[in-house]
């Protein structure tokens, strides 16, 4: 960013809550059905139909709120947000306004600036104030492609209309695009972690908007802000914010100024462009939805949800560092996904060696998973089997390189460590009498070298080790070989 300027960013995230049915009717939320088939009088907005709140939405909403450090409000009120659009069948969206479902959140994220290659510098904790997360229904979709006469007609698919959303709104606490980037990733993982949302940006079940403005360092007021939309991935969002920072600073410096407006990220041309200006802004005429009672959430309900909540990733990361002696980087990587973290913990406990477990998972297993396009739960190599492999390594029966080779084979074949080790003939010989026999033979067959070694040429020790390993086809336990050679020589 140009020196002397700073950026101010607030984030809005719409996360689809992972219910099977819609927020105010019994229609399925699943994707990929024929247009307008997952619909009923309620989500079509037919005359006379009334909304009935899906209780599962309250449960998942509470989980999402708690995972983001928000307080679930005892009473919240649904309000109507009125505007006309063809994908909005009632002419209003049932949302929440002045009494949201949850509020007053403080969320600690880990964030880092990136170098020019996108590599993170040092991750540091940062507190983000989350103003609210309210519940609302999604709209349908206008379709302008792939249908007959699209130049003359627009089509409407209302399958998505009425899908439950949580809208998560932060204060304008971000001061860089990477902070916003790390925040969205944090939220995404937190929602997936507690099962509140699939939070998949590509599928559109997590959508984010950034409110961006810039000002001279030292200024206390705010300049005009721009709302950025159509941010279809976290990376696009980060790029759009960067673009917008530069654009706005230039516009201010040239005296042209910045309009308060909504802009879209144009991913083809790598720039933002105007969607609508402030003059077109809607007056949404919010008022309390008279068709629904206030939503009252009891403290017992919240206590029950809390008791069902899994350990959250940050807490788990800290515990991994403390309990298992992992580095911040390793522990952070292990808690990137809930399944991976669980896989790790099972391996660490069963193997009795948490650090080697972490190394094997982070360097070997993740590579294999990525190559195979699988997640930790889909791994053909089970945590228990991996633990056995680590135990075998710890017992000195195989060496580190062999263990890595065995892991790959276990992953590919699904076989146990023992079976692969046998097949590969990696089993180490630690039996002293067998090794003694080989050592005796080597000493007998290399009289000159023995004499030289005993005469003070200690460098020859390596030669003897090599001979023993060769004779044992590499299977002799090097530690045992060393000991026996030393005593016999």
């Amino acid at each position: 960013m140009k020196e002397g300027w700073e950026v101010i960013i607030g984030m809005e995230i719409h996360a689809q809550l992972a219910t099977e049915t819609k927020i105010f009717c019994g229609c399925a939320t699943s994707f990929g059905h024929d247009p307008n088939t997952n619909t009923c009088p309620v989500c079509l907005g037919l005359p006379g139909a009334l909304p009935v709140l899906n209780e599962k939405v309250v449960e998942l909403g509470a989980k999402a709120a708690l995972a983001l450090g928000l307080e679930v409000q005892e009473t919240s009120i649904f309000s109507r947000k009125n505007y006309f659009y063809p994908d909005l069948p009632k002419g209003y969206q049932i949302s929440q306004y002045d009494k949201p479902f949850s509020a007053n959140g403080i969320l600690t994220i880990m964030t880092a600036e990136r170098d020019e290659h996108g590599r993170a510098k040092e991750f540091k904790p940062m507190q983000i104030r989350i103003e609210r997360m309210h519940l609302e229904e999604d709209a349908g979709k206008n379709v302008h492609e792939g249908l007959p006469d699209v130049d003359k007609f627009s089509y409407i698919d209302l399958n998505r209309a009425g899908t439950p959303l949580g809208e998560i709104v932060t204060k304008a606490d971000f001061r860089s695009s990477w902070q916003a980037y790390d925040y969205v990733n944090h939220v995404r993982r937190a929602l997936q972690w507690v099962g509140a949302s699939d939070a998949d940006m590509e599928k559109g079940n997590l959508r984010c908007e950034a409110n961006v403005s810039v000002r001279k360092i030292g200024e206390t007021g705010f300049r005009n802000k721009v709302e950025l939309k159509n941010l279809n991935s976290v990376r696009f969002m980060q790029k759009a914010i960067e673009y917008e920072i530069e654009r706005q600073i230039e516009a201010h410096e040239s005296g042209e100024g910045v309009n308060q407006e909504t802009r879209l990220w144009d991913e083809k041309n790598n720039k933002t462009r105007v969607m609508r200006s402030k003059e077109d802004a809607h007056d949404y005429r919010y008022f309390p939805e008279p068709d629904l009672q206030p939503l009252v959430v009891s403290s017992e309900f919240i206590a029950k949800i809390k008791s069902e909540m899994p350990e959250l990733p940050d807490a788990m990361r800290d515990r991994f560092m403390q309990e298992y002696g992992l580095s911040f980087a390793d522990a952070s990587q292990l808690v990137l996904e809930k399944d991976l973290a669980a896989f790790y913990e099972t391996t660490a406990k069963a193997s009795g060696n948490p650090r080697v477990s972490a190394n094997f998972i982070l360097s070997e297993l993740i590579r294999e998973l990525n190559n195979a396009g699988k997640t930790a739960t889909e791994s053909p190599l089970s945590a228990e089997n991996l633990a056995e492999l680590i135990k075998t390594l710890d017992a000195g029966k195989i060496n580190n390189n062999q263990a890595k080779e065995v892991l790959v084979e276990m992953f590919n074949s699904g076989k146990t460590a023992d079976a692969v080790i046998k097949e590969k003939g990696f089993e180490q010989i630690s039996d002293t009498s067998a090794i003694e026999k080989i050592v005796d033979e080597i000493i007998a067959n290399n009289e000159n070298q023995v004499t030289a070694y005993r005469g003070g040429n200690e460098k020859l020790f390596g030669f003897f080790v090599g001979q023993v390993m060769k004779a044992s086809q590499g299977k002799a336990n090097p530690k045992v070989v060393n000991e026996i050679l030393k005593s016999k020589l």
């Binding site: 037919l46 009334l50 909304p51 009125n82 063809p86 002419g91 008279p290």
Partner: protein, 465 residues
């Protein structure tokens, strides 16, 4: 006599009177006769077996037209049954047609219907009242014994009064609104017209009670309305808010209502004075809340998915403008504009928010008054049926037709209009009783006893049956 032959007769009557009275927007001859035949074969003991009923055209009935009296829903057929209609069907009642109404239930005369005015059978030059004018006339002309209407500010009680029949509004939440096309959701109720209170009680028994499709319907036990109809009323306390018997009240109406108070006294009721200090703000509060909610509820009629769509638009926005300009009538547009205005940014606190506060005061007025009495008695309407066209250019004077009725909607309490006499011109007059939340039984009981003891003993000139 078979159900089929009875229904045949009802349909004939409806068809015979409709060219004159226009109380039906559609008559379901085929459906009704088929249903009658089915019921003739049915051995079950059903509460309303073969009972002919008319339903206001803003209450959804599957496969039948449900136009709300509006061009914008011209030929619109409902895709599902309202809870009230489906409960009636299950109980063996037979829907014989859909009744005329003011467009989207906005009016007190039935003159704002897009499908022609409905006429009062007592004098066809006069309005039947509204907005449920067609439902009222279907009963008053003797075609059916009972019908469903809807109320937002008096749209059942006022036409009942003008047509000389019983009109009943339940406690908000007593009858499911599922399938009632919304005008103002927090005020809307399905109401019932009957030739007698007993007709009302029969229908109410079938349609009252919690419905999982309407979360504003209440889980309150439904009493046996029929068995309580003839309870002793001696000792009941009737509150009379004398302050409301002043300006704008027709002398004939006043006299008849005063006489009815005397009659109740003769029946052993105790008359007490009550005060409703905020009642005077009822109309103002009503026209803010009702129009605000209506502006939102009617947004879905945009020509995009169903109903009327204007021709010749070149853009989405133009299509919205033209469709709503051409599809809605003047009164509906007037109220959408009013409602949009009072919800607008910067005006919300001054209008909508303040109106809600006054609404609470009105509700509290009734709670206080009901500490002194069981029911409150007033006129239902300040006038008898007025001439067609008399008030159509004067919305304010039309709005004042509801001055005695809107408060019950604002306070969510039940009310009933009972015929209590005729004016010098021979037009019917109604008395209104309103009661405590969930005290429908008390109202039906007091109305029934009154009808029995002081019957109107007159029928309109146009009457079949």
């Amino acid at each position: 006599m078979s159900i089929k032959s009875t229904i045949e007769k009802v349909i004939e009557n409806a068809e015979k009177l409709n060219p004159t009275l226009n109380s039906f927007l559609s008559i379901e001859r085929e459906y009704a006769l088929n249903r009658a035949e089915e019921l003739d074969q049915n051995q079950d003991d059903l509460a309303l077996k073969g009972f002919a009923i008319a339903i206001k055209d803003n209450i959804c009935t599957e496969g039948m037209q449900t136009t709300c009296g509006s061009k914008i829903l011209h030929n619109y057929k409902a895709h599902y049954d309202s809870t009230a209609a489906s409960r009636l069907k299950e109980a063996g009642a037979i829907i014989i047609g859909k009744a005329n109404m003011d467009e989207f239930a906005m009016g007190s005369s039935n003159e704002s219907s897009a499908f022609g005015i409905c006429r009062n059978p007592w004098d066809t030059e006069r309005v039947p009242g509204g907005s449920s004018g067609g439902s009222a006339v279907a009963v008053a002309s003797g075609v059916v014994r009972a019908s469903l209407g809807s109320e937002t500010g008096g749209s059942v009680r006022q036409p009942a009064s003008l047509c000389g029949i019983v009109g009943f509004k339940p406690t908000y939440g007593r009858i499911s609104r599922f399938g009632l096309v919304a005008f103002a959701s927090s005020l809307d109720n399905i109401g019932i017209f009957g030739q007698t209170s007993e007709d009302v009680a029969k229908v109410l028994s079938v349609i009252a009670g919690r419905d999982k499709n309407d979360t504003t319907s209440a889980d309150v036990a439904v009493p046996n309305y029929i068995s309580e109809l003839s309870n002793e009323i001696s000792g009941k306390k009737i509150g009379v808010p004398r302050a409301l018997f002043g300006e704008g009240l027709d002398a004939d109406v006043k006299n008849a209502v005063e006489q009815s108070i005397e009659n109740y006294r003769k029946l052993g009721a105790e008359i007490v004075d009550v005060e409703l200090p905020h009642a005077q703000y009822g109309i103002a509060v009503y026209y803010i809340i009702a129009t605000a909610e209506a502006s939102s509820n009617l947004a879905r009629f945009d020509g995009v998915r169903y109903g009327f769509r204007a021709e010749g638009s070149h853009s989405l926005r133009e299509n919205y403008y033209k469709t709503r300009e051409e599809g809605f009538g003047a009164e509906v547009k007037r109220r959408i504009m009013l409602g949009t205005y009072v919800l607008s940014s910067g005006y919300y606190d001054a209008y909508y928010s303040k109106a809600q506060k006054v609404r609470n005061l009105i509700r509290q007025d009734y709670i206080n008054a009901f500490e002194k009495c069981d029911v409150i008695l007033t006129p239902t309407s300040p006038t008898t049926a007025f001439k067609i066209g008399e008030k159509s250019d004067d919305p304010i004077s039309m709005y004042l037709s509801d001055i005695y009725t809107v408060s019950a909607n604002l306070a969510a309490i039940p009310g009933i209009s009972v015929p209590c006499g005729l004016s010098n011109e021979g037009l019917p007059i109604g008395l209104q009783l309103v009661g405590k939340h969930w005290a429908e039984s008390t109202l039906l009981n007091m109305a029934n006893v009154y009808e029995k003891e002081f019957p109107l003993n007159a029928k309109p000139p146009i009457f079949v049956g």
